[in-house]
Subunit: 600 residues, 2 copies
Amino acid sequence: MTDTLIDRRDLTFQLYEVLDTEALVQRDRFQEHSKDTFDAVIETADKMARETFANHNSAADKDEPRFVDGKVEMLPEVKQAFDAYAQAGFIASRHDYELGGMQLPESVMAACNGFFTAANPSTAGYPFLTTAAANLIRVFGDASQRSRYLPHMLSGRFSGTMALTEPHAGSSLADIRTSATPTEQGHYLIKGAKIFISGGDQSITENIVHMVLAKIKGAPAGVKGISLFVVPKFRVDANGNSGDHNGVSLAGLIHKLGYRGTTSTALSFGDDAPCHGYLVGEPHQGLKYMFQMMNEARIGVGLGAAVIGYRGYMHSLDYARDRLQGRKPSEKNPESAQVPIIEHADVRRMLLAQKAYSEGGLALCLYGARLMDDLHTHPDAAKRQEAGKLLDLLTPVIKAWPSEYGPKANDLAIQVYGGAGYTREYPVEQCWRDNRLNPIHEGTNGIQALDLLGRKLWQDQSHGLQILLQEMQVDLKAATGERGQNWALSLSETLQQAVKVTQTLGKSLMSGDPDPVLANASCYLHLFGNIIVAWMWLRQANAASLGLVSASNDEERNFYNGKLQAAQYFFHWELPTVAQDLVLLRNQDDTCLNMKKEWF
Amino acid sequence: MTDTLIDRRDLTFQLYEVLDTEALVQRDRFQEHSKDTFDAVIETADKMARETFANHNSAADKDEPRFVDGKVEMLPEVKQAFDAYAQAGFIASRHDYELGGMQLPESVMAACNGFFTAANPSTAGYPFLTTAAANLIRVFGDASQRSRYLPHMLSGRFSGTMALTEPHAGSSLADIRTSATPTEQGHYLIKGAKIFISGGDQSITENIVHMVLAKIKGAPAGVKGISLFVVPKFRVDANGNSGDHNGVSLAGLIHKLGYRGTTSTALSFGDDAPCHGYLVGEPHQGLKYMFQMMNEARIGVGLGAAVIGYRGYMHSLDYARDRLQGRKPSEKNPESAQVPIIEHADVRRMLLAQKAYSEGGLALCLYGARLMDDLHTHPDAAKRQEAGKLLDLLTPVIKAWPSEYGPKANDLAIQVYGGAGYTREYPVEQCWRDNRLNPIHEGTNGIQALDLLGRKLWQDQSHGLQILLQEMQVDLKAATGERGQNWALSLSETLQQAVKVTQTLGKSLMSGDPDPVLANASCYLHLFGNIIVAWMWLRQANAASLGLVSASNDEERNFYNGKLQAAQYFFHWELPTVAQDLVLLRNQDDTCLNMKKEWF
């Protein structure tokens, strides 16, 4: 069984040959970095992921956290991994040096976190949520909140969670009922129930800092009445000491299909004791704050889905090289030796598809991370703004595409293993189960589709879309060789048709009832997503063609040829699937819209 | 939570309005039957499946069989269900009255077994395997074997298994190594190891009759040297009494991702005691015998996949009607009530797709079962032969299409449930896990694709294909109304293109190297399978149009309109996906063939 999580040669290619990550060291924020420091931190992540995270990935799946006497019991290896991650400085890695951070670029941290998720998505969930919660406090919290919580979260003494969902309000956050009542002491009293809160309780950290959405009494209805609160499990004094129980209690653990090592909790607030919450920022702005962090969270989900797909690919590739079974159709001698299954064209199809999905998904997420870097650190203010707009537009795709295709990759990994893949004795079935969460959380893919077609495309007079088209033109023009130019041509033609249909849909959307247009939003997301990933494959093909010219040995040539063949696979086998989307969207197909519920 | 397994109205429609199952009672073999007896046995199956099988479906998944001191410990409910099934006469149901059977048609038994698999695929596995093993003995065994085993298998005292796979020989049965050494007493000594043997041991029946593939010493290499043996767990005397241990020992249980209630075993033969095997039929004809039963087994897998998909659809439909969440895009008032999620067009899309996959898959399997009835009981000898040829051709599709699309339906069922679907507190995740086996066993879908494109299409000068085209013409001509005629037109056009590409592929295959053509066999199977299922939807649409004319109340009209809308979904959203297959096949795309293993 291979212990490769993400192929390092591929990662180097994506970071340096496709994205020119090294250029970031020219920027003020990263001036103390170099390719060497980036590589060193990636090396550390890869090693730690293999040694401290992958080691208990299967064990934590089999022996999931238990709810005993109101507390969570879990494997000690989870805490060891969390602590190792924190002590290596990864929670604080993106932050300023003065906060104990390393001022690392998002693109480098995305690469690092790719290893941890590939190794053990469940354990990685705890530090990742802590990072996200800390980020919310850093950006929107007041000075007292920052000093009280931030250092302890970044050091790994406290963990963090995102407490949004309620039993009757998941996709529709407008309907949350958790209430916040102001007190004369300045804090609020929080009362309500949350569900599906990942890491909502655990036996890892001294304290847990919940970022809770609630409504202040008298707030406007809907999303405009949601506020954000810091709610620690134990109250924290000004010196960061954890004290009294703060009325957050664990009502139960939810038993999931995968991601079993991450506790999914039902929490009640203010049930057995007063629960103090501290307002973050302004009242009624909670959802806006959350959404400003959403790009990051959604890239995280997309990345997770891509790298879990990637890990399954690595396993099934390894298995396909070793496992002997059958002969080619042209071999008629039954006494000839059986061949490794990688010799069978249909197995190669399944491996190529996995390669296309996982490397394509990774490319997309690293591109998204780079846009975050540009948004925050590009020296040119106009470029910063453009990066932000493009990222906003692409976020639904970055979340949804890998979370559709990563699980498809895992499904194919099982199929490559055959009967063995269906057993828990081999690792790919867990990848498949773990990855099934990704199309659901952080906004289901149906919600992402509505976000894209209902909102993101039209923001700022579609400026994001215009930037996208300009960026794509650069790579379309750069395509070389007969194959590359053919791919560019087919992408360009598909793109033109997509733009046309987008304009038509936009007109319908602005002029009348949104329901018929948005009824086919998922279809649009499939179209748009595959065009974007085809672009990612064109970018990789362009870089590979360049690399091939100067490749000095067979290993390098093999690598680049593999990239080009995977690009070919994507352009021949995947991009054409959007033809049907174009027809359905052009016709504003009303099959789903007009299906009546009585007819089911 | 609904306890509906398969919608009875749909089943009635499929059996009587689409397939005219009632006409079977005109045939000699079924002359004592009537629509009433068919309905009564279906009613019994539905009720027993809900009460005696569904009751422990989840429990047997959570508390799977255990290997304790060389024996299997399992839930007592499994034996209760097996015994109930046997006592109701279901194992013997297809057999002659004189064998204690009910002489029921295959199409009626397929419907019955659909309920049992939908209710609990793991428990249903035991009697189904027993039925299949008994059938092998009935057809190919000698008089002594038939009298020694058959009555006890049909009554449920003994169970049966199929012992084909070995650790190094799964898809490639040519390479099995289990040996059979003749003795002077007439029996053979069996020696070897088998793996993934479902029901290979259990604590249900007094004895287990293994149908074992082995090679007699000195046999020809490859598949031409495989013989079939009866190998009981305990030796059986002429009166059917089980006696001494027969050297079949349980080496271990395999832990699967799903289908957990069915033991999957590693068995060793002749390791701890001499293992007596009894040759079935002629030497070296074992695989041929197995394959003559394969149509039945493969329809069983397809049916299982379709009805597990169906059950997930029933659950998610029920959930979608109840679960309140969000509002339509056009509803801007946040204080308006939340709507049941079935009101959201994207949820309807996911439900319609499930309806199209599960009802389409069921239609296909019932059609296959009807062909088996025609093969065995059609009064016209020419029609019997035609049915056999058509069934041979369609078998890879009947196995593979539902086993691709049933799991897709289950995936969508999870998505409809959202976060709840990802938990083990709701039933759809188990459906999804259970169903993942179906693309693998009884020949992976890759093997089905090779069987179709490499063999079945060309058998008997493609007579099967000609019969298929004639049968399709009948339904294409019968299409009525504007919608129906448009669907028939699009199916007819797609079919013409498929026939053309099939001819081209056939020429390439006959004239040269089979490897390039067969490299894209899976692509061909996708094309062919979706054409066949589009035909199944056209047949249903034709019957529904007819039904709608004479429908006398809203309930009936709703049912038929639902059928027509699902047909529309299939023709607008699914059939067009084959356009890309046509291109790839026409071009004899070599992407997968030419990918080198060093390039991965």
